[in-house]
């Protein structure tokens, strides 16, 4: 019975486990306990690591890497918007949505790798500042949630069958949630920049 549920509802069980872990983390105040422990790492990142040294010493290097970060975020935004607006039936209706989601996902994957790599460099230069910003942690949470949602929930469903066989309201929900989560990543990123 249990093994039957685990086999047939693997994704649902996985989601329930993740929610349970998040609930336990909040309930037992694990997040509050971990937060002060992270500070020495952020200090090391800015003052002792080579990326922190490069970022704080050479403004031109920091600006160049940050430009790469912004461009990769723009590509992620473009890939997300094209995919999700197609799923909502707003854009490119004459092209099958399977073709678009397959093409944009490759672009999304590589841009995400570049955005994370350049983002670590950018954060290292101002690590002692971003540590105290709630909006930085909101961005990290949105990035984690958005990436997990994309790789473990959205793409597996979209790749599992022709899109006309997927429940239409589920597709719309997926598209709106995806747009909102990546909007949050972009907006909180700019918020960090202006704080």
């Amino acid at each position: 019975m249990v093994s039957n549920i685990l086999n047939n509802y693997r994704s649902v069980v996985g989601l329930a486990v993740v929610l349970l872990v998040v609930l336990l983390i909040e309930l037992f105040e694990v997040r509050a306990a971990i937060y002060p422990v992270l500070f020495p790492f952020f200090e090391w990142l800015k003052y002792s690591s080579w990326i922190g040294y490069l970022g704080t010493t050479y403004g031109s290097v920091y600006a160049t890497v940050q430009a790469g970060h912004l461009i990769s975020m723009a590509v992620i935004g473009g890939a997300v918007l094209v995919t999700d607006l197609r799923l909502l039936g707003v854009l490119l209706k004459d092209i099958p949505s399977e073709t678009i989601t397959e093409g944009t996902h490759k672009c999304f994957k590589y841009s995400l790798i570049v955005a994370i790599a350049t983002g670590i460099f950018c954060a290292a230069g101002v690590a002692d500042k971003v540590y105290y910003m709630p909006v930085f942690w909101v961005k990290m949470l949105a990035l984690l949630a958005g990436s997990c949602f994309m790789f473990f929930i959205k793409q597996p469903l979209l790749n599992s069958r022709p899109h006309e066989e997927i429940e239409p309201w589920t597709m719309r929900l997926l598209a709106v949630a995806s747009i909102l989560v990546w909007f949050t990543v972009a907006a909180t990123g700019r918020w960090i920049g202006f704080s």
Binding site: Y9, L15, L19, I153, T170, L174, V176, A177
Partner: protein, 55 residues
């Protein structure tokens, strides 16, 4: 479950999308609310087109 469309992946997708939408709506509504409260505290009232800082 009616026509076999509600399988494992679909349920996980719909429920996680609802959780994400709910969480982010809660966050952004909270941010708007705190911004309005801050403006009211600073200027006495919240007005888009009557900002005392704009002469």
């Amino acid at each position: 479950m009616s026509n076999g469309k509600w399988d494992d992946k679909t349920i996980a997708a719909a429920s996680s999308a609802v959780i994400i939408l709910g969480g982010l709506a809660y966050y952004w509504v909270g941010e708007v609310q705190s911004t309005v409260e801050l403006l009211e505290l600073a200027y006495g009232s919240f007005k888009f087109f009557n900002n005392p800082l704009v002469f």
